[in-house]
């Protein structure tokens, strides 16, 4: 058996027997996927709750719009008090041939939505009551828009994040612990080059990343989450590999500076956590302020994320890989070069 193969085998065995490593590579990110996936599962707007007094066709029609929820009151003053207190955005009081709407001026957006809905319903009923055909025919129908359901952006985001943490932690911790335990020194005393050692570790990380991709996508495809893959999902594979290399290089850099495993995992957390939040792992980057979007461009995770979104759920083709791949390769080369410069065999 060659040194490359046996070192890879040794590291795979070490990884599979390390319950903590397995937990952080698979279960930990999966927990986020499950929690966020189910939490945001039927998002798409909450119903607005308003106070309602009275009964009749107006109330029935309001109910049929499907966007309002009612809290019934017997007394108009009670209902208005709720609005005054700021508990509810609006109160509708339906009397005999009369609809009174009171709304809170504080939340203009919500209030105007309610005003619009109520006046629309009342106008429609008025037109119907006159028994004359309406002057303008109004038609509305829904289309699927480009914005994504939570699971559609969560899956690529959390997958990229998982690859990032196992890449950074895997390489940093291996390097630090091998240096501390003098395994590096022992290897240096054997007739093997650093290439065999390094490439076998990279191979294990890449294998882990591909497995992570498989597991996360498989879980997200199940009914409770309902991920829909579009287009050429297999284009994610080159991204997984390139992403692993970039994060591996970052881990090597961390490992070169840290003396203990504790320091290395602290530093790796310090890098991966903010990067995950700013790169759109848990929410779309588009929903953040413009300056933050600009900052996030500095992170390899942001670009890996964008590429993953494009090829997994936005149905884009190979052209979507160009920018993310270029950024990830650039990161790998630059960070890898610095890591090689500051690399130490021993403390």
């Amino acid at each position: 058996m060659t040194a490359f193969k046996s070192l890879s085998a040794a590291m795979v065995k070490g990884f599979l027997r390390d319950k903590m490593a397995l937990f952080f590579a698979f279960l930990f990110p999966l927990m986020f996927l499950v929690v966020f996936g189910l939490l945001f599962g039927d998002a798409g707007g909450d119903k607005t709750k308003i106070a309602v007094v009275g009964e009749g066709p107006v109330v029935t029609a309001l109910d049929q719009t499907g966007v309002l929820e009612f809290e019934k009151f017997d007394n108009p003053d009670q209902a208005r008090q709720k609005v005054n207190d700021g508990d509810l955005p609006a109160a509708v009081v339906v009397g005999d041939g009369r609809v009174d709407l009171t709304f809170a001026a504080s939340d203009q957006v919500k209030a105007q939505t309610v005003v619009g809905i109520v006046s629309g319903v009342v106008d429609k009923l008025n037109v119907a009551a006159t028994n004359t055909p309406p002057a303008f025919e109004f038609a509305a129908k829904p289309v699927e828009d480009a914005s994504l359901k939570p699971i559609q952006y969560l899956t690529p985001g959390i997958l990229s994040w998982a690859v990032a943490i196992s890449g950074v932690f895997g390489s940093a911790l291996t390097l630090v612990s091998w240096r501390k335990k003098q395994v590096l020194r022992r290897i240096r005393l054997a007739p093997v080059g650093p290439t065999a050692v390094l490439s076998s570790r990279v191979l294990v990380s890449v294998g882990t990343a591909l497995l992570q991709g498989l597991v996360f996508v498989a879980v997200a495809l199940t009914p409770p989450f309902g991920l829909k893959l579009t287009g050429q999902w297999w284009l994610a594979i080159p991204l997984l590999i390139l992403g692993t290399m970039a994060f591996f290089a970052i881990g090597m850099l961390v490992g070169a500076f840290c003396k203990t495993e504790e320091a290395a995992s602290g530093a790796a957390n310090l890098i991966t956590m903010p990067m995950a939040f700013l790169s759109g792992t848990f929410f779309p980057v588009e929903s953040t302020p413009p300056w933050l979007q600009a900052v996030s461009n500095a992170f390899p995770l942001r670009h890996m994320n964008d590429g993953m979104l494009d090829v997994l759920v936005r149905g884009k083709g190979a052209e979507a890989l160009l920018l993310p791949s270029a950024v990830l390769i650039g990161f790998t080369l630059v960070v890898g070069f610095i890591a090689a410069k500051v690399f130490r065999w021993e403390d």
Binding site: A3, L7, A9, A10, L189, A190
Partner: protein, 296 residues
Amino acid sequence: MEVADIRKHYGDLKAVDGVSFTVAEGEFFGILGPNGAGKTTTLEIVEGLREPDSGSVTLLGAQPWPRNAKLLPRIGVQLQASSFFEKLTAREQLETFGSLYGVPPAKATEMLELVGLSDKANVPENKLSGGQRQRLSIACALVHDPDLVFLDEPTAALDPQARRNLWDVLRAIQERGKTIVYTTHYLDEAEILCDRVAIMDKGRILAMDTPAKLIRGLDAPTRVSLERGSLTVAEAEAFQGVDHVQEDETSLTISTREPAPVLSALAERGALDGLQVRTATLEDVFLNLTGREYRA
């Protein structure tokens, strides 16, 4: 193997301060001294892990520094820390280290047997006892059948039983015709195991020879001690060849450079109860060389 006047200074600290020695093929050579004497640094320079500030090292006709990939398969190094791969069993450790040298996995079985760990083959390294781990570590250093073996304090921190087991392993290795260079701070152990020893202190070699010659060179008296009361001081002083007699609460001690007549005189009197004969040891050699008590 030849080491000529190597020096390594760290600032003001002269870790190795002009060390020279040669080791012949098949020899069991010990480098002794207290902690901080420069043993490990010397060994690291010889192994090619550190560059000396000056001086030269020749191993099997080649220079170990800079890293010499041709020389590496011929030397085996056991490091001070137990350097193993995570979560692998004893056998897997041997197979992995062996593969770095292109050794087939089957060799692991033979090595496990050599160090007496055959029944622990499938036990993870971190579940082994200190002595077992140390033996495994030595097996890993030998897995590629090197000619020259370096062992850095293999018996440190082991209990007496584990140390004795390890001595058997070391003797078995020597019987295979390997040249062994090892460091220890147990002088008694070196006296038993080594063909030749170098005593180091403060970065220098103070003396180098076979343990027996070093001790003889001291010209130290043999001390015969008996139970108190079996003989009076005056009676003992009357024996031929006695240098000095001393009595304390438990025993009477006779110092002599001619133990034979003293012992036969004692035997004639039947005064052999609790008899102990103590000759000088390497610790006395150390004391004589440095003027201070040996403390490991």
